[in-house]
């Protein structure tokens, strides 16, 4: 029976191909818009979150209780490298490391700037932070006792310095004495968020600890779990492993704005899909109503000949669903095709400073999630089903005699 209904539905669709085509076009466009826009928005938010997490860095961080309010050399925690390897190495994190992070002043022959000095473990931090290792001019740091520094390209321009030249970093030790030394710039990094290029200076952790005379103390510990959307496991593990005194926080707490952005995005995607559907639904219902109306006599005849009303209902609904399905398939495919050429990002640096304000980088990457595509298709089909119930119902309940004799 279904097969017959399908055949009827299909043929009915194409009886008035112009009407069907126009509707199809609208559905395709609507679907394309749903998915494409969603991909762009998701990409934007994902990028923002990824940037945020890579800037923190990490999913979970631990600090001295006073550090967040006063990120200076006075508030350090003692997690030596040995401890780090022993305790955290076996815990199954995707990545973990400790850093020294203090305010400092960098000076070249021409200028000086206040920056944040990061004493890092480059081997452990590989791939965990915003540093794009493919875009490094020169080289990145190689070990904790590397004698070089890596600064942002923008900072290098401001200071009028370059790879191979020396700069001086000046900060304070715990006794409030000046701690400074010269470093050679061994590399320049680029970051999505331009402000990072001016703010952060990377040096080897051990070299930094020696310069600041802080032994093996560090400013922060961070770990990366498996999924940034669910960090509970990483959080509890870290709490268990860190020595008492240090305060552990999830990234959603460290950057509340980012944390909620993800959820807001999910909600937004759903709303967007529903809105588009509603805009389409009027036309869809109209189309169905008219299609039914044209075939009143025919439907009446089928009913008179014994077709059960439920099958009429089914036929109409199938018509609607088929139309939607084709539109969805085409729209989804088009959206996928539209995403491909811009996979490497759209450059929106004309509003770069504005993007900075929102916390976004000036290059947009689309993110096409299968879950979004499925959501769009499912929502449209379900709502389409519901929308077509009314005309289908009426059609199924025509009085055969009246219907046949309708003019």
């Amino acid at each position: 029976m279904i097969r017959i209904l399908m055949q009827l539905a299909w043929r009915n669709l194409w009886r008035n191909h112009r009407r069907t085509l126009i509707m199809l076009l609208a559905i395709t466009l609507g679907t394309w818009a749903m998915i494409f826009m969603t991909a762009l928005m998701r990409g934007m938010v994902s990028q923002m979150v990824a940037d945020g997490i890579s800037a923190l860095p990490g999913h979970v961080q631990a600090h001295h209780p006073d550090y967040r309010d006063d990120p200076s050399i006075a508030n350090l925690i003692g997690v030596s490298d040995a401890e780090l390897t022993d305790r955290f190495g076996a815990a199954g994190f995707q990545g973990f490391s400790t850093r020294v992070r203090v305010p400092a002043v960098i000076t070249s022959e021409y200028d000086s700037r206040g920056i944040t000095l990061l004493g890092i473990d480059p081997e452990r931090e590989q791939g965990l932070t915003f540093v794009d290792h493919d875009k490094i001019e020169g080289r990145f740091l190689e070990s904790v006792d590397d004698n070089g520094v890596v600064i942002g390209r923008k900072l290098a321009t401001t200071l009028n310095t370059e790879v191979g030249k020396r700069i001086v970093l000046m900060s304070q030790d715990p006794d409030n004495e000046i701690a400074d030394r010269g470093f050679r710039v061994v590399g320049l990094f680029e970051a999505n968020v331009k402000a990072f290029e001016e703010q952060y200076v990377f040096a080897g952790k051990q070299t930094t600890q020696q310069m600041l005379r802080i032994g093996d103390q560090v400013s922060e510990l961070f770990v990366l779990g498996d999924d940034y959307r669910d960090v509970e496991a990483a959080y509890s593990k870290t709490v268990a492993l860190i020595n008492d005194g240090a305060v552990v926080k999830r990234w959603t707490e460290l950057d509340a704005y980012l944390g909620t952005m993800l959820n807001v995005m999910d909600g937004f995607v759903f709303v967007w899909i529903v809105v588009i559907f509603l805009a389409l639904s009027f036309g869809l219902v109209n189309t169905l109503v008219m299609a039914v109306f044209e075939r009143v006599r025919e439907i009446g005849l089928m009913l008179a000949l014994g077709m059960r009303p439920i099958n009429i209902l089914g036929q109409i609904i199938l018509e609607s669903l088929l139309l939607l399905a084709i539109g969805l398939a085409l729209g989804s495919a088009l959206a996928w095709a539209a995403v491909q050429p811009i996979k490497d990002g759209i450059d929106v640096s004309i509003v770069g400073e504005g993007m900075d304000m929102w916390g976004m980088s000036s290059v947009l990457y689309p993110e096409l999630l299968l879950s979004d595509v499925i959501l769009a298709n499912v929502v449209v089909l379900v709502l389409g089903f519901l929308a077509s119930l009314s005309p289908a119902w009426r059609a199924a309940h025509y009085e055969p005699i009246e219907a046949i004799t309708k003019v």
Partner: protein, 409 residues
């Protein structure tokens, strides 16, 4: 003409359900557009206002070059009398003079290099929200008193509280030693740590004394209350600048370039979405009108055989659409206006807004307002597109052969 109108009207109501559905699409999208555009513009307005009213103001008078270099020596001479003159010229404006310097601010335990602003205690509250953000103590009073207000985050970092003393050490305008001891009379809390840590305010009189300003300052701030009319104000102020100094007027876009761009970025994506909506609605209309034309083929055939030109017939079709469009516009605008007005009273909040609010200095509950533009802009575009959509079926009429048409069922 009256005849055509009556015909169009009657044609519409031959198929009430269809007409209502098509109009419904328009009403839906119009309501949405009015609501969203009101929301959007309201949000932008708020973002701008809040950012500007926090400290920057809508206009500033400075010396040329100060906006880029911010050097101590780039001063506006006799700044207090100049501000007073401006106040008498523009009695509706909120105007205040300021001076800026960089100093080492020390408490017993800690020192920080920080920006110090000399402000006019009587006028500063009307140009900046900082005095209103005091969580402890009071704002500055006497223009010559050795008082200071600092942000809560800075107070924590310096380990000081209300009533404690801070020492300021810096360089005066002529490079000489500038030093003063000031009393903390107020602590402000904006909720944004970076902001709290970066601004301290002392009375302008004290500043001019300590930093050897000789009556000069660095900028005069105008708070216009909103961004409407700022351009006009700017030219008016420019005309009244004293000719014995070289001064320039900068508007808020020059002072905060990122703001305009942030809005542009957001607007582009919003307009893209609205565009999609409008096109989809236009498609619905196209479909409907096409169908309505096709099913009247027989009728049109007769009418054309009787002498009605395809052109006139086409106009009929377009008129039908226009009437529907107008209905959709009016109803949609009305409904959208109603929904928005409801929110104007009750406020609008969605999940995630609090954090957004905290980051951008916005209130966590938002009261959008309907403006003439937000009410008409969206629906008007929809109207235009739907009328355009009707052109295709209307033009097709030219291909209609009366005799063939009459044979249609």
């Amino acid at each position: 003409m009256n005849l055509v109108f009556r015909l169009a009207w009657r044609n519409l109501w031959r198929q009430p359900r269809r007409t209502w559905l098509t109009t419904g699409a328009m009403v839906f999208s119009n309501t949405l557009l009015v609501f969203m555009i009101s929301l959007q513009f309201g949000m932008y307005g708020l973002m701008i206002d809040n950012t500007l009213q926090a400290f920057t103001g809508h206009l500033q008078i400075q010396v040329p070059g100060y906006i880029d270099d911010q050097k101590m020596r780039q001063t506006v001479a006799d700044i207090v009398p100049l501000a007073e003159t401006m106040r008498s010229e523009f009695p509706d404006q909120n105007i205040a003079a300021r001076a800026t310097g960089f100093a080492l601010v020390s408490s017993e335990d800690r020192s920080y290099g920080i920006a110090v602003f000399g402000v006019e205690p009587d006028y500063e509250p009307s140009v900046s929200t900082v005095p209103g953000l005091l969580s402890e103590g009071r704002f500055l009073g006497d223009n010559d008193a050795a008082e200071i207000i600092i942000g809560a985050a800075l107070a924590r970092n310096l380990k000081v509280g209300l009533g404690d003393e801070l020492t300021m050490l810096g360089s005066g305008k002529d490079g000489s030693f500038a030093a003063a001891v000031v009393n903390i009379v107020g602590i402000f809390d904006s909720g944004i740590s970076d902001f709290d840590r970066s601004i301290t305010e002392i009375p302008l009189g004290l500043f001019q004394d300590v930093f050897y300003m000789n009556g000069s300052g660095h900028h005069i701030v105008f708070n216009n209350g909103g961004i409407d009319g700022v351009a006009e104000l700017e030219s008016q102020v420019e005309a009244l600048l004293p000719s014995d100094q070289e001064l320039v007027v900068h508007d808020w876009d020059a002072l905060q370039p990122g703001l305009q761009q942030a809005i542009k970025a957001d607007m582009s994506s919003a307009f893209f979405m609205y565009g999609i909506l409008v096109i989809l609605v236009a498609f619905s209309v196209l479909n409907t009108q096409l169908m309505s034309v096709l099913e009247r083929t027989h009728e049109f055939g007769i009418v054309m055989a009787l002498g009605l030109t395809p052109g006139r017939l086409g106009r009929l079709v377009v008129l039908e659409t226009a009437i529907m469009g107008l209905l959709g516009l009016l109803l949609g605008a009305a409904l959208g206006g109603l929904v928005t007005s409801y929110l104007t009273i009750n406020g609008f909040a969605y999940p995630g807004m609090e954090e957004l609010a905290a980051k951008f200095n916005l209130p966590s509950r938002f009261y959008p307002e309907v403006s003439p533009i937000s009410l008409i802009a969206g629906p008007l575009v929809v109207f235009l597109f739907t009328v355009l959509a009707a052109l295709y079926p209307a033009l097709r009429l030219h291909r209609l052969h009366p005799v063939e048409a009459m044979r249609a069922v």
